[in-house]
């Protein structure tokens, strides 16, 4: 990101120094800035709106009085939502699938990406094509479902992790990245007697960390965000994820009402301001799901561009 930015801004900065802004330029700038400020606001505002509605006086929220500023701030909603039975389990499942699924996918695709760069492999091109072509077709919902069912993945936590081993797109990214590395590094290690695994772990792995970081981000976000797999593959209600609970709460008004009743029992000192309503529970759960993303977003944000750039150069 930084290198690109410098380049872009370098040019822009130079131009600014050189020529004076004409009246048209000023008008253009004003319009341009305004439009971008509006777009950015449109992107941030829902997050902000949800936040102020979860920390404000619930009675006022119910009446629709909280629109721009929070009022009667309290954190009772969050405390109560975390007490909903199943939420903590779902959080655990979500975290577990995100961590394990990411490690599994990225590890698998990294090693596979390395293997397919080896020209000496028996029938390499055939295997590579067989893997890549899966990107362009899918068997469809029912065959996919029946297949996982046949393999015993229904109601099984590992369905979140194991089928993701090979992701063709990631394999292409890693392969492209490795092919751009100088081959001499690997050759010298091979001369020193290192085997393939050894070369991969001690030489290739450290060099491809940038692309692995990008893959990690995408895979982790995908894992954290997915809920349709839970919906289809967990018929008996085991291993619910946070996202799925969120989805479920939005759709099942009756179960939500029951939940609200439960949480109200639990909050012994409930007064009107902190009493849970169906709306507040919904919004708070949504916020609980968003917060982890907001927390890690600033850290991984800088890896996007790199990943996209490599992605643009397809192999």
């Amino acid at each position: 990101m930084t290198a690109i930015d410098k380049k872009m801004h370098g040019r822009a900065g130079k131009r600014e120094n050189r020529q004076k802004l004409s009246r048209g330029d000023i008008a253009f700038n004003i319009v341009n800035y305004t439009v971008f400020i509006l777009i950015t606001l449109a992107c941030i505002f829902p997050f902000y709106y949800l936040l102020i509605n979860t920390i404000s006086d619930n009675e006022m929220v119910r009446l629709g009085k909280i629109q721009l500023l929070p009022q009667g701030i309290h954190l009772e909603n969050y405390v109560q939502v975390l007490k909903i039975p199943g939420i903590l389990d779902a959080l655990f499942v979500s975290v577990a699938r995100t961590v394990l699924g990411t490690l599994w996918t990225v590890g698998g695709c990294a090693f596979l990406g390395y293997l397919v760069t080896k020209k000496e492999m028996w029938l390499r091109k055939l295997w590579y094509r067989l893997i890549i072509i899966t990107m362009y077709f899918s068997a469809g919902l029912i065959p996919w479902y029946m297949n996982l069912r046949m393999l015993g993945f229904l109601d099984n936590f590992w369905v979140y992790v194991i089928p993701g081993l090979v992701s063709p797109y990631n394999v292409i990214l890693v392969k492209t990245f490795i092919e751009a590395l100088p081959p001499s590094l690997e050759e010298s290690a091979t001369l020193d007697g290192a085997g393939y695994t050894r070369v991969f772990f001690s030489i290739i792995m450290p060099l491809i960390t940038p692309i692995l970081a990008t893959l990690c981000i995408f895979s982790a976000v995908g894992q954290w965000n997915s809920f349709t797999d839970t919906m289809m593959l967990m018929p008996s209600g085991k291993f619910y994820t946070l996202q799925f609970l969120l989805y479920k709460y939005q759709n099942e008004a009756s179960s939500l009402a029951a939940l609200v009743r439960n949480t109200q029992d639990a909050s012994a000192l409930a007064n009107v301001a902190t009493k849970q309503t169906a709306l507040s529970v919904r919004m708070t759960v949504a916020m609980v799901v968003t917060i982890p993303i907001l927390l890690v977003y600033p850290f991984f944000q800088r890896y996007f561009v790199k990943g996209i750039m490599i992605g643009a150069v397809k192999g």
């Binding site: 690109i4 930015d5 380049k7 801004h9 040019r11 900065g13 131009r15 330029d25 253009f28 800035y33 971008f36 777009i39 449109a42 992107c43 829902p46 949800l50 629709g64 629109q67 007490k83 596979l112 293997l115 028996w122 390499r124 067989l130 893997i131 899966t134 362009y136 077709f137 068997a139 469809g140 919902l141 029912i142 065959p143 297949n147 089928p163 081993l165 090979v166 393939y196 976000v221 965000n225 997915s226 809920f227 349709t228 289809m232 996202q243 799925f244 969120l246 989805y247 939005q250 012994a268 919904r282 949504a286 799901v289 968003t290 977003y297 600033p298 996007f304 561009v305 996209i308 750039m309």
Partner: protein, 854 residues
């Protein structure tokens, strides 16, 4: 490094936590749930530790795990304080000690708090506990200490150039020691079961039944069912019947009743998972103790052990949670209390620590560390031996399933499984005699002349005997092959044996159904049967090489690739087998060869049946309409990028970029909750705004979100909101790659800002735009279903249902299985169209630009 004064603040915080309110108890009235009484002041953590949970309410004293929680909190607090104090001293080793202290205290405090939070479920109905900051503060403080010490360890100090514990030998020994410690913990109590006196009448009898159960006992299945033990020792004079329904009446929480029965019935068989953990721990410890053995072996093993052990812990914890106070009323508070000690958690911690030190050891090892523990000549045979042993195990596991049905009926009434073990013990035939359905009624009776039990049995007997001797043969061949492999016998001989075993297995598979009357019984091989075939073939293949060096590189690479190919096959190609459903009158649960073949009926059904045709055209219209809208505006991200590039302030540009990409990282479920809040009919900001403007009647607000009006546009709006900033990144990157001299030259020629944008920036972005456009054209039918799924409701279903969503709605969502074949047919057509589109787009791209997009 200077004395760290903030550490002092940490210690002060911990001391303050002692006096802050930790727990409050409310007593509710039984009738309406209102608070009947409340203990006036909250109990502080200090008092909690000093006087135990009895300080809150006398009945809590008898909850044994609350006493454990007291100990855990006490020790945890002390350790956290010690960690904080140690942080005051800027020595590296002391910081390391602080790290360990705070880590351990975090585990202890966590367990203590867990016990308290868990208490809420297990109190009697009329009592309610609320937890205060005093309970959480020490946990936070311990976490801060842990983080801090870990961070300060990372900063290398000038006087000690050597990284901490850089001695690889020492680390290896520590690692092995920790593994052994974890193993020792197997023999210490993992949980305790104790019985209140009231259940037996005499305290002595109760005491007989109280006991500690170690992980070792659980592993070997030596833990006896409490109920059975009570009967055996005649301690339980008035046993409570094991009928869940009977207990339910006394409980408002079914889960907890389940918990009680878990204590009574869990862990009565041996636990293979724990056995594996113990074996791994032992092996890694032994390997770690042998010098010059590659440490990766032990590290991998120990990590596996830690993970496996950790998966076992939740099971143990639920035993503790099902404590009797949880479930039933006072009369029944009597059965038994399972209480998990913190020792299994400690075992996990030790195993994990052992893995970490092992990795550190590898990092700092200066000797050439790749020394394989197996002699080079043995390695490849080791692989072969492993494979054939796994094949042996597969042979012992369930090999075939026989499904029984009445003649002429398709419904499967009963299934029976025969395993290799049955075959070995000559019991296979018994498994298939007189199949009974789910209600326990025999499927076949003498009255039905078409299929009397004797007739069916004649077929199954033949099948069972064939299965038996074939399995015997395969087992003997494989076993002999394995032994010969170990004994370094002639490799041709070994190979012949293993290949013969493969053939025998193949015959077993092919001959499974022969002799059975297809109308009544159908046999199917199990996954284990199929799995044994490739295992044996590969074992034979590997037994061909005396040493790994003999294996040509190209095959070696292929073998490394094989697991991945297998995964691709299993999860991407195997589903294609399901396409065959589209040609059958597919009935769920029946084996494929009993399905009725209908040819292309489902495909023609799509267009000949008017109801179906209408639906198909409707969802196609929706799919194409919404994809089309997105396609028609796919230039938006490009324009976004071009104009964003015109902004000269770096900070502002970055700000815009960061926040406009954020929506891409939240799920559609979340987008929908945002939408629901913003556009709620009565409270959302949108309708409030409309009311202000007089466009919305406050008494009868418009249901904007749920209505089906302009749903395409709304969906387009949401996907643009989510994807605009993200889509622009690629164009921004492309803009950064444009040669600056082009701009300079144009400017010299007098081009203004618009001209630069029109003649330089846009044309250089067009190739990227073109590729993306082609890809999205080929994906025009696959617009996913998540977005439409979350936004759909009965009001807008007609206009929001896209192809994918339609397939989901008529099959899995409606829980019906009758339309599986039809849905598969739709899926096949969709895939075919998509692939055709993709290839045409690719062809077009090749023609127009001379470059392929794939």
């Amino acid at each position: 490094m200077k004395l760290r004064w903030p550490a002092l603040a940490l210690v002060l915080v911990l001391i303050a936590a002692l006096f802050l309110p930790a727990v409050t108890l409310h007593v509710h009235s039984r009738v309406d749930g209102a608070i009947a009484a409340q203990i006036p002041e909250s109990i502080s953590l200090g008092k909690l530790i000093l006087s135990g949970s009895g300080a809150i309410h006398p009945t809590l004293t008898s909850l044994e795990r609350m006493q454990t929680a007291r100990l855990e909190l006490g020790f945890g607090l002390a350790l956290a304080a010690a960690g904080g104090c140690l942080l005051l001293f800027p020595r590296r080793k002391i910081t390391c000690a602080a790290l360990w202290c705070s880590g351990l205290s975090l585990a202890l405090l966590g367990a203590g708090v867990f016990h308290w939070t868990n208490l809420d479920n297990s109190l009697l109905f009329e009592m309610m506990i609320s937890l205060g900051i005093g309970l959480y503060l020490p946990v936070i403080a311990a976490a801060v200490t842990l983080l801090w010490s870990a961070l300060s360890l990372r900063i290398r100090e000038p006087e000690t150039q050597k990284p901490l514990c850089a001695d690889d030998r020492k680390l290896r020994l520590i690692s092995a020691g920790l593994a052994i410690a974890a193993l020792i913990l197997f023999f210490l109590p993992a949980y305790r079961v104790s019985l209140p006196d009231t259940v037996t009448g005499t305290p002595g009898d109760a005491a007989i039944l109280n006991r500690d159960i170690s992980l070792f006992d659980i592993m070997l299945g030596q833990e006896k069912n409490l109920y059975a033990l009570g009967q055996e020792r005649e301690g339980l004079k008035t046993p409570i019947s094991g009928d869940l329904a009977e207990l339910n009446a006394f409980s408002n929480d079914q889960n907890n009743v389940g918990g009680v029965f878990q204590i009574r019935s869990a862990n009565t068989g041996s636990n293979p998972l724990l056995m594996a953990v113990a074996a791994l721990l032992l092996l890694s410890a032994v390997l770690g103790l042998i010098p010059k053995v590659d440490r990766w072996f032990s590290v991998v093993m120990i990590s596996g052990a830690a993970v496996l052990l950790a998966t076992e812990i939740p099971g143990l914890l639920t035993i503790g949670a099902g404590d009797m106070y949880a479930s039933a009323s006072r009369q029944l508070l009597l059965l038994g209390i399972g209480k998990v000690t913190f020792l299994p958690l400690l075992a996990v911690a030790f195993a994990a620590a052992s893995a970490v030190t092992g990795i550190l050891g590898i990092r700092y090892a200066n000797e050439p560390y790749f020394v394989n523990p197996l002699p080079a000549g043995f390695r490849i045979r080791f692989v072969a031996i492993c494979l054939s042993v796994i094949a042996l195990v597969c042979m012992l596991l369930p090999g075939a399933t026989v499904s029984f049905s009445k003649p002429g009926k398709n419904k499967v009434l009963a299934t029976a499984t025969i395993s290799g073990t049955d075959a070995l013990t000559l019991k296979a035939a018994d498994r298939l005699i007189n199949p009974t359905d789910s209600k326990g009624k025999p499927v076949y009776s003498e009255e039905d002349p078409a299929a009397t039990p004797a007739m069916v049995q004649a077929g199954t007997d033949a099948m069972a005997s064939r299965f038996t001797w074939l399995t015997w043969a395969a087992l003997i061949l494989t076993l002999a092959g394995t032994i010969l492999l170990i004994a370094k016998a002639n490799k041709r001989l070994v190979m012949a044996m293993l290949l013969c075993a493969t053939v025998v297995r193949l015959v077993t598979w092919l001959a499974l159904g022969a002799g059975l009357d297809r109308n009544v019984a159908v046999a199917e091989g199990s996954l284990y049967l199929y799995a044994s075939l490739p295992l044996l073939i590969f074992a034979a293949f590997f037994s061909n090489f005396a040493a790994l060096e003999e294996l040509p590189k190209k095959y070696k690479l292929f073998l490394m690739m094989l697991p991945f190919l297998l995964a691709v096959f299993l999860f991407s190609y195997l589903p294609l087998y399901g396409w065959s459903y589209a040609f059958y009158n597919y009935k769920f649960g029946l084996p494929m060869d009993q399905q009725e073949f209908v040819g292309l009926k489902w495909f023609s059904e799509m267009f000949t049946n008017p109801a179906n045709r209408e639906n198909i055209f409707r969802v196609l219209k929706n799919t194409l309409g919404m994809s089309g809208l997105n396609l028609a505006t796919s230039w938006l991200p490009m324009i976004f990028a071009v104009f964003l590039n015109e902004i000269t302030r770096t900070r502002f540009k970055k700000f815009v970029q960061i926040f406009t990409t954020l929506p891409n990282f939240i799920s559609w479920a979340l987008v929908f909750s945002f939408a629901m809040c913003l556009f709620a009919a009565d409270t959302g900001i949108y309708s409030k705004l409309m009311m202000e403007l007089g466009l919305n009647d406050p008494n009868n607000p418009t249901v904007w979100l749920n209505s089906g009006d302009q749903i395409w546009l709304k969906m387009w709006g949401w996907s643009t909101w989510k994807g605009l900033g993200w889509g622009a990144i690629m164009y921004l990157a492309a803009i950064a790659g444009i040669d600056q001299e082009l701009y300079e030259a144009a400017r010299v020629d007098g081009a203004n800002r618009w001209a630069l944008m029109r003649h330089i920036t846009l044309p250089s972005l067009l190739p990227t735009f073109f590729v993306l456009l082609m890809l999205s054209i080929s994906n025009i039918l696959n617009n996913g279903m998540e977005q439409y799924l979350v936004f759909q409701n009965p009001m807008n279903r007609q206009t929001i249902e896209v192809l994918d969503l339609y397939v989901y709605n008529i099959t899995i969502a409606s829980r019906g299985t009758t339309l599986y074949a039809y849905a598969t047919a739709i899926g096949i057509l969709k895939t075919l169209v998509s692939v055709t589109l993709l290839f045409s787009a690719n062809f077009l791209s090749k023609k127009l630009r001379g470059e392929s997009i794939m």
